[in-house]
Amino acid sequence: MEADVIDRPPAAPGFFGRIGAGLLDVLQVLGEAALVFAKALRSSGLRPRDRARLAAQLVRVGTDTLWIGALLSLFVGMVLVVQAADQLQQVSQDVLGPIVGLSMTKELGPVLMAFLLAGRAGSAMAAELGSMQVYDEINALRTLDIDPIRFLVTPRFLAATLALPVLILYADFIGVWGGALVVAIDPAITISVHAYFNRMLEWVKFSDLVIGLVKGLVFGMIASIVPCTFGLRTRGGTEGIATSTTAAVVWSFILILIFDFVIVRIGFTFS
C-alpha cells in the first residue's frame, strides 16, 4: 500500500478535541463490535467446512486455557479457604464450604475463566486477525467473495461461547477440590472434608450453577467478539497489531466486569 499525497497537515486537536475524539473512538469500537456480533450471529448456521473450522477453534481454546485454568482454579480455591478460615477462626469454620462453593460457581469461576480466555485465546485471536488485516489476507478473502466474518469470526465466536461455560464448570470443580485439599491438610482448620462438602451442598443450589453458566455464555461472546473486532480494525503494521492485541484484552476485561455487574443486578432484581 502506498503512502498518501499530503495536501496539508491536519491541525492538532485541543484538550476538548482530544476528549471528544476519545469518546467517538469508544462509540465507534462499541458500534463495530455490535455489528461484528450481529453478523457472526447471522452466519452461525454451520456448513460442513464451517464445522471443521469450529472444531479447530474449540481445540485451540481448550489447549490455550485448560492447564493454566486448572492451576488458577486450584490455587484460588486453596487461597479462599486459607483466607476465610483465618477470618472465621473466632466464629465458626462451618461456612467454609458454602463460601468456596458460592464464590466459585457464581463469581470467581466465570470471571477468572473469562479473563483467562480473553487473555490467552482472545489475544491470540486479535493478533492473528490483526496480522491478516495488515498483510491483506482479509482483503484477499473479500476479493474471493468470501465473507471474513463467516470465515474467521464465526468459528472463534462459537468456540469461545460454547467452551466457556464448560471451562467454568471445570474451574468450579477444581476450585472446590482445591479448597477441600487445604481443609484436609491444614491443621488450622477444624472442620472435616466431609463437613466442608455437606455444608456446601446445603447452600449451593442448581440456580447458582446456572447463573455461572449464563455468565459464561455472555463472557464467551465478549471474549471473542471484542478481540475479533480489534483484529479486523487493525491498521499500521506490526505496531498496529501489538496495539490492537493489548486494546482487545483491556476492552474485554472491562466489558466482562461491566456485564458481570449487569447480570448480577438483573439476577437480584428477579430473585
Partner: protein, 251 residues
C-alpha cells in the same frame, strides 16, 4: 478454465482522500476488454489506492467506476453466484493465508462456494499451479515458499477463479531482476493464453514496457498520460521523462 474476452473498465472523476490527504484527484481511465494496461507512477502517488477502488475494497469519495458495463456498486452487491464475471486481485505481498496449504489457498473460493466436487476443485487447482510452473507444490505451506513462489501462488489463486479481470498490485516488488523477469513473462503468457483484461500497477518501467498494450502514467492523483510502449520513449511528460532517465541510468 476457458479463454476469456475480458471486460472493459471505466473510471471517471474518481476522487479519494484520507483525512486531509487527497490521494486521487479525479482519475479518469478507460481500459478496453482484453487489454493489458500498466499503471506507472512513483511510490505514494495512489496507484494501489486506484486498484483498490476498482476491486471494491475501498469506495471513492466521488466519481464513477463501471466494470463490464455494470456500475461497481451494483456488481459488488450481487451474490457471488449471480455475478456475470469475476474480478481477481494479486496483492503486493501475495496475501496467502498462512494457515492453509498452497492447494487450499489456490482453491479457496471454490471450496467455500462448494459448487464443485473436491476432485474437480483439486484438478482446477493443479491446472492453475501448472500455469504458474508450481506443479507439485500443493501440500507446501506459504512459509515454505520463497517470495517469488508466493507471488506465483497468488497468481494461481487468481487464475483458479477463472477471472475476466485481473488486477496486479506491484507484482514484482521486492523481487530480484531474474524473478521480476519470470513474473513478467508469466503475465505476458497469461495474456496470450487467457485473454482476460489485466491491469498492473508498478513503478517498474521495464515490466510495464515488456508486457503492457498501453501504459498509463499516474501523477498528482490523476492519469497524466496514456501511451503505448512504442510511444513511451517519445513522451514529453516530465514524470515519464524522469522514469526514462532513471531507467537509462539503471540500464
Amino acid at each position: 478454465m476457458t479463454s476469456k474476452r475480458g471486460i472493459a473498465v471505466e473510471l471517471s472523476g474518481v476522487r479519494r482522500s484520507y483525512g486531509g490527504h487527497t490521494v486521487l484527484r479525479g482519475a479518469d481511465l478507460h481500459v478496453e476488454a482484453g487489454e493489458l494496461l500498466a499503471i506507472l507512477g512513483q511510490s505514494g502517488t495512489g496507484k494501489s489506492v486506484l486498484l483498490r477502488q476498482i476491486v471494491g475494497l475501498e469506495r471513492p469519495d466521488s466519481g464513477r467506476i463501471v466494470v463490464g458495463g455494470i456500475p461497481l456498486e451494483r456488481y459488488l452487491a450481487m451474490p457471488p453466484d449471480e455475478k456475470p464475471f469475476r474480478i481477481a486481485m494479486v496483492f503486493q505481498n501475495a496475501a496467502l493465508l498462512a494457515s492453509l496449504t498452497v492447494a487450499e489457498n489456490v482453491g479457496l473460493r471454490l471450496y467455500e462456494l462448494a459448487h464443485q466436487a473436491p476432485e474437480e476443485i483439486a484438478a482446477v487447482t493443479r491446472r492453475a499451479l501448472e500455469q504458474v510452473e508450481l506443479a507439485g507444490a500443493e501440500n507446501k505451506m506459504p512459509s515454505d515458499l520463497s517470495g517469488g513462489m508466493r507471488k506465483r501462488v497468488s497468481i494461481a489463486r487468481a487464475l483458479a477463479i477463472d477471472p475476466d479481470l485481473i488486477l496486479y498490485d506491484e507484482p514484482t516488488a521486492d523481487l530480484d531482476p531474474i524473478l521480476t523477469e519470470q513474473i513478467g513473462q508469466l503475465i505476458a503468457r497469461l495474456r496470450a493464453v487467457r485473454g482476460a483484461t489485466q491491469i498492473i500497477v508498478t513503478h517498474n518501467l521495464f515490466l510495464a514496457r515488456a508486457v503492457a498494450n498501453r501504459i498509463a502514467v499516474l501523477d498528482q492523483g490523476r492519469i497524466a498520460e496514456i501511451v503505448t510502449p512504442a510511444e513511451l520513449p517519445k513522451s514529453r511528460y516530465p514524470l515519464t521523462r524522469e522514469f526514462l532517465r532513471a531507467a537509462a541510468l539503471e540500464g
